[in-house]
């Protein structure tokens, strides 16, 4: 199975990851798995989601940087 992870840039801020998760839930997109790499002040979150195209569009609308 080919999966395309979304790569998302997030600042270290309490609740920031939850906000991104909420965004997906509200759009009915399931997060099947994720991993994070972090530096002192920011991190990169990789998400495996059920609808990567729609998720990317949502994140863009919120001006969250995602690849």
């Amino acid at each position: 199975v080919k999966v395309t992870p979304l790569t998302v840039f997030l600042e270290h801020r309490r609740g920031r990851l939850a906000e991104v998760a909420d965004l997906h839930r509200n759009a009915g997109i399931n997060i099947r798995g994720f991993s994070t790499t972090e530096a002192a002040e920011y991190g990169i979150v990789r998400l495996i989601v059920t609808d990567p195209e729609e998720a990317r569009r949502l994140l863009r609308d919120e001006e969250v940087r995602a690849l």
């Binding site: 840039f9 600042e11 530096a39 002040e41 990169i44 969250v64 690849l67």
Partner: protein
């Protein structure tokens, strides 16, 4: 007329010493006459030797002979930092290069730095003015000055150094940095006087305390601290921490460096070396002179510098004057501590930084969006600059390594231009407040020291 060679240390009436008693206690009227005599010579030299001033004076329709009293000074044109940059490197020199024995330059700039040249005589005069500064704090031959000002193009290190040698005390040219070593040398050599920025003095005091050193373990009596604005509260802390008298000194590279004005042990305003600098306070908007006691922009005209006479140089520092007699016996007017700037210059660890310089670097990096913020803060007593940059789609990459490389690249480019370390912080899009128009995006979180 004051001539070189009148140096002999005599006590002032505040517990310090006078290095050039005749000049430092010159009756006000004679001082005024001396200033006018020197001013005319400066104007003539500027007109005859500096094309910039010849043009400026012609445009203003003023000839040196027209300036006969202090009130006439308002007819003279101003000089700005931009003028100096425009004539980089040696276009403001009034002497041929083979008579210039030293060149200093202002702290890092992205455009041209401002240079300052000295003849042999200028170096001697500068030494005398700094010797006056040190003597006012009671320093004399036999003392050991631990000089932690930076050496190099910056005027602080070499300025204090030559003044101390001229005065005849022992100088330790330790320069800045390496606090551990500074404390060891200070203690082992038995420093009795200290010169450094006020923030570094406080850093040294904290470091000494952390290592269990008490003020009594360090025989320092007096410190000379300038190049940054500082408060009387910080003075009390430095004095308690190191067990010294902490004195404020004022100078700027354009006027030759330290030695323009200094505190005596009364610690109530800085005595301006008025026999060498004609000082005015003007309204920075109307450019008209302000009455004594009012806060305005400090303007200097050099009265003795051969290599580089400057006429009505706008320092951008805001302060006030008093000509009330000082109990110490010096007859010169005193200036208050500068309380701010009439431009947006930041002083970071003694280095002058204009936000526009940081902006220029950021704008030269294509991936950076035009949204950024410069945050100035203080950790302990050391100033920190953070540059907040939004991560654009161009910057953002798959890996942390790419982001970290980008951070280092921006930090490196800023360091190359400004010679100061900044921390680049990557922020999410929209994290930085949008400002209307071309506001300067600087947040200064430092409390007055």
């Amino acid at each position: 007329v004051i001539s070189a060679g009148d140096e002999h240390l005599v006590p002032d009436r505040a517990g310090g010493l006078l290095w050039q008693p005749a000049a430092e206690m010159l009756p006000t009227q004679e001082l005024g006459a001396l200033q006018m005599e020197r001013l005319r010579a400066v104007l003539e030299s500027a007109r005859d030797n500096v094309p910039f001033y010849r043009k400026k004076l012609e445009e203003a329709g003023v000839s040196p002979a027209d300036i006969t009293c202090h009130g006439d000074v308002v007819h003279l044109p101003f000089t700005t930092k931009t003028d100096l940059r425009d004539h980089y490197p040696f276009g403001m020199f009034a002497r041929p290069r083979d008579q210039i024995v030293r060149v200093h330059a202002s702290s890092g700039t992205s455009s041209n730095p401002t240079t300052v040249g000295y003849t042999r005589q200028d170096i001697d005069t500068w030494g005398d003015l700094v010797a006056r500064t040190l003597a006012a704090g009671g320093v004399k031959p036999g003392d050991l000055l631990h000089n932690a000002y930076g050496y190099g193009l910056f005027t602080g290190g070499l300025g204090l150094h030559f003044g101390a040698e001229r005065l005849g005390c022992t100088v330790v040219p330790i320069s800045g940095g390496n606090t551990e070593r500074q404390l060891k040398i200070m203690r082992d050599f038995g420093a009795t006087a200290l010169s450094c920025t006020p923030s570094y003095a406080m850093h040294l005091a904290d470091a000494a305390r952390d290592r269990g050193l008490r003020p009594a373990d360090l025989p320092i009596r007096v410190g000379f601290h300038g190049a940054e604005p500082w408060s009387n509260e910080l003075r009390r802390q430095i004095e308690a921490g190191l067990g010294i008298d902490a004195l404020d000194i004022y100078g700027l590279s354009e006027m030759g460096g330290p030695g323009v004005a200094f505190e005596c042990l009364c610690k109530s305003g800085m005595h301006i070396n008025e026999d060498h600098y004609l000082a005015e306070i003007i309204d920075p908007d109307t450019l008209r002179p302000l009455p004594e006691g009012e806060v305005g922009e400090l303007v200097f005209t050099t009265l003795s510098r051969e290599a580089q006479p400057l006429i009505r140089y706008r320092t951008r520092d805001l302060c006030s004057f008093t000509s009330e007699p000082c109990p110490c016996g010096r007859t010169s007017a005193r200036m208050s501590k500068p309380i701010g700037r009439s431009d947006d210059m930041l002083v970071i660890r003694g280095v002058n930084v204009f936000p526009s310089q940081i902006e220029e670097v950021l704008m030269s990096i294509p991936e950076i969006e035009p949204h950024y913020e410069i945050v100035v803060d203080r950790k302990g007593y050391l100033d920190l600059i953070e540059v907040w940059v939004e991560v654009s789609e161009d910057v953002f990459a798959e890996t942390m390594g790419d982001l970290e490389r980008f951070q280092r690249k921006v930090q490196g480019q800023i360091y190359n231009v400004l010679n100061i370390q900044v921390a680049v912080k990557l922020k999410e899009a929209k994290a930085i407040q949008r400002s209307e128009g071309k506001a300067v995006r600087v947040v200064d979180r430092r409390q007055a020291l």
